[in-house]
């Protein structure tokens, strides 16, 4: 055996040693010791990361348009775009920013800005922009959006450019079946309004004798008791009643007061009326989002109509209702989209040029229209004047634009209390805890979060 091995020029031991060394080498290589490729091609390259707010085809068309368009500004620049799925976007952003090779320009939202604001991973626009440019970035922007992007020392870490919210939408067929009851102008009036639009399969109204709650044809209102959905509209109940979900000192809940309790009472009366959907009506998000379009519910806080939804429900007739308010006025929970630059960008000046290019209204409008959003600044006339795939989309978006004046961003905090608070609120709304017990526990939970989030 030994002779054979030697005659082949390689002993068994030698072969094993070589294999071992090769294996070790591949392990070390796989452990990320190969940064050379990136560094050598860094020249005029930029990385642009964003999340998928439209179909993959539309996102690709947008990024292609931006990258080719930017070549008119910077000839030698090559922009690589990466669409990061929402589910793991924050994790990937975190990994990239904490590593040494962050994406130069990124799309950001308020919850993420809360995370980056004090970490120094984002560049300050004020260091790059002239006074005129800075004014173009900030003038006319809602205060809460700018605040979310402003650092402790007044830095501007991101520029807001698009906003979105979920307006209250009415299914006209259900409304007509209910005899066209007067549209609600307050959050409290939504309760009898929802009751009037609740019918069982035999056509009996919720208030009629013999109403069969196990065979409901239309519910008055959709109320999916999942944080993913509720995060888009529960907070406005507090704001409309003059309270907030976190106190001013940012270290406790903000609704342990008369106004906050009243807001919770209105929500409780609504979900206990029998006029809202059971929390387990649907197992998938898409059906929740189309509950009113499909006619299963009379109204809901709803995301913008898309082409696919219009195709799915060609006969649905919808109307955006004027935002109902409370004793303290009107407010709608709004999401805001920003562009930000990485502090550790290898090409800071080119990065700024690209961010400025993206924020130019001509370019940012392309993005806003693609995602069916609205600009953060007030719009004169119909923003969606050009026909979209379905005229109902134009009507929906133009009617919803009026909500912009009441848009309010969620709070600027070093911790994220929303999901936990929605869980606690649901504990009370769906009968698992008394109001006092819920408030007491929520308060302790938030104090703990504030303490550890510092």
């Amino acid at each position: 055996m030994a002779t054979n091995s030697r005659s082949g020029g390689l002993s068994r031991r030698g072969l094993l040693q070589m294999a071992g060394v090769a294996g070790l080498g591949s392990v070390l290589a796989a452990c990320g010791l190969g940064e050379g490729d990136k560094a050598s091609s860094a020249g005029g390259d930029l990385n642009f990361w964003l999340t998928p707010n439209a179909s993959p085809e539309a996102m690709k068309a947008f990024t292609d348009k931006m990258t080719t368009g930017f070549r008119d500004v910077a000839k030698d620049a090559a922009v690589s775009s990466l669409i990061i799925p929402w589910d793991n976007a924050l994790t990937k952003y975190t990994a990239a920013f904490s590593g040494g090779n962050p994406p130069d320009v990124t799309y950001q939202i308020i919850p993420w800005m809360n995370k980056w604001r004090s970490t120094g991973v984002l560049a300050d626009f004020k260091k790059f922009a002239s006074a005129e440019e800075l004014a173009s970035f900030t003038e006319g922007q809602p205060e809460s959006y700018l605040k979310a992007a402003t650092g402790d020392n007044g830095e501007l870490f991101a520029v807001p450019f698009t906003q979105g919210f979920q307006p209250l939408v009415l299914n006209l067929a259900v409304w007509e079946k209910a005899g066209k009851p007067p549209l609600p102008t307050t959050l409290a009036e939504m309760i009898p309004f929802a009751e009037a639009m609740t019918f069982d399969k035999k056509g009996r109204n919720l208030k009629d004798a013999g109403f069969d709650k196990n065979n409901v044809e239309h519910y008055g209102m959709a109320w999916p008791a999942l944080p993913t959905f509720e995060d888009n509209w529960v907070w406005q109940y507090f704001w409309a009643y003059g309270s907030d979900y976190i106190n001013e000192a940012r270290d406790d809940i903000g609704f342990d007061n008369a106004a906050g309790r009243e807001a919770i009472d209105v929500m409780k009366r609504l979900v206990s009326s029998g006029a809202t959907t059971p929390p387990d009506l649907y197992s998938d998000n898409a059906r929740w989002q189309t509950a009113t379009v499909s006619g299963k519910t009379g109204m809901q806080w709803m995301p913008p109509l898309t082409e696919a939804v219009c195709k799915q429900f060609p006969d649905a007739r919808l109307k955006v209702i004027d935002l109902p308010g409370g004793p303290a006025g009107k407010a709608i929970v709004a999401g805001c989209g920003y562009y930000a630059m990485a502090a550790k960008s290898k090409n800071p000046d080119l990065t700024y040029q690209f961010a400025k290019f993206l924020l130019d209204p001509k370019q940012s409008d392309v993005y806003i229209r693609m995602i069916l959003g609205l600009p953060t600044r007030p719009v004169e006339g119909n923003y969606y004047a050009e026909p979209l795939a379905d005229p109902r989309m134009n009507t929906f978006l133009n009617e919803a634009a009026g909500y912009g004046q009441h848009a309010r961003a969620t709070l600027v905090l070093p911790y994220q209390p929303q999901e936990y608070l929605l869980g606690k609120l649901n504990d009370h709304l769906f009968g698992r805890q008394t109001l006092d017990d819920m408030i007491s526990e929520a308060s302790k939970g938030i104090k703990q979060m504030a303490k550890t989030g510092k």
Partner: protein, 332 residues
């Protein structure tokens, strides 16, 4: 001489060397032990093993030892990974001691364990017993039982969520339409925990049943025959012969199910998001929220360590109790 060679072979097998039919015993070296040549030869013999061990050590160090050590390090820090960390001493541990929410999530986890562990043991022992019986087509049944274990937990969660959909879910239609039962699958705190346990069991039934099946198959036929001759019925054979004999396997499964229950996360992510309300806010869910949803990573790391200790203590109790019973049985 032959005794020494057998000893050498056993040693090699114990170290994991293959003991295939064509493998020859190593030749006996003629050089006297302790000479320089012999030492060099021995070092040469060990070199390939050293290289492979180094690879293993690197992998183990990079993916096990370092993350574990770093987690312990994080528990004594405050701040964030992005803005920098600073030494916090035992502050995180003190905070956990006063964290009512963490206590509540531990309680929810214990509730889940209290449902899942007995349910899993009873069902998988039963299925394992059935799988160990000699029935025609048993290999098909085994494959079918094992199928759910091949699915990812996320897929399993989505499948079950569709089954209980109020409008189109077949399971919901059956319970409400045929049985006239209004089951609040995921909308009632207690039902939600039971339902999550059932889905967890469904995803692991194949794995644990196959373990029990092989344990039952290893029970000596002689013992079973002797029991039958002595007049033992099926139940007595199971409780007096089979179960005591598979106790070591039972103990392993118990520890595995406990760890599985403590680590419950994926199903909650897919099916309940901690709801209804905060009823399924388990410790792992709370840790996830803290680490990745705007909380504090060092604090999440500290909770992970506490959870590790809790799991280890529970597992140790099971093991100790089982050993105690074994020694009592031995004395008897």
């Amino acid at each position: 001489m032959s005794v020494r060679l057998v000893g050498v072979r056993r040693g090699a097998e114990a170290a994991g060397a293959p003991a295939g039919p064509g493998r020859a015993d190593p030749p006996v070296r003629s050089a006297p032990a302790g000479t320089r040549a012999a030492r060099r030869r021995r070092a040469g013999d060990l070199a390939p093993a050293g290289v492979f061990l180094a690879a293993k050590a690197v992998l183990f160090g990079a993916f096990m030892l370092f993350p574990f050590g770093y987690t312990i390090y994080l528990t004594f820090q405050r701040g964030s990974l992005l803005s920098g960390l600073e030494f916090a001493g035992l502050d995180n541990y003190r905070s956990i001691a006063g964290d009512l929410l963490f206590r509540q999530t531990l309680w929810n986890t214990l509730l889940f364990m209290a449902v899942l562990i007995p349910l899993t043991l009873v069902v998988t022992i039963g299925v394992g017993l059935l799988l160990s019986s000699k029935v025609r087509g048993m290999s098909v049944y085994r494959s079918l039982i094992y199928l759910p274990s091949l699915l990812s937990i996320v897929v399993a969660g989505l499948i079950w969520k569709m089954l209980i959909d109020s409008e189109t879910g077949p399971l919901e239609r059956f319970t409400s339409g045929v049985l006239h039962l209004d089951v609040p699958w995921l909308t009632d705190a207690n039902t939600a925990i039971v339902f999550l346990s059932v889905v967890t069991l469904w995803t692991s039934i194949g794995f644990y049943s196959v373990i029990f099946m092989s344990a039952f198959n290893n029970v000596s036929e002689d013992l079973l025959d002797a029991a039958r001759i002595d007049g033992a019925n099926g139940w007595q054979t199971l409780t007096r012969i089979k179960l005591p004999l598979i106790k070591p396997v039972l103990q392993v499964v118990l520890v595995l199910v406990t760890i599985n229950a403590v680590q419950l996360f994926d199903l909650i992510y897919v099916m309940t998001q901690g709801g209804p309300g905060t009823a399924t806010y388990t410790a792992m869910w709370y840790i996830y929220q803290n680490a990745f949803n705007g909380g504090s990573v060092p604090y999440a790391a500290t909770m992970s360590m506490v959870l590790l200790v809790v799991t280890a203590v529970i597992a140790a109790i099971f093991v100790r109790r089982s050993r105690g019973e074994e020694s009592t049985d031995g004395h008897a």
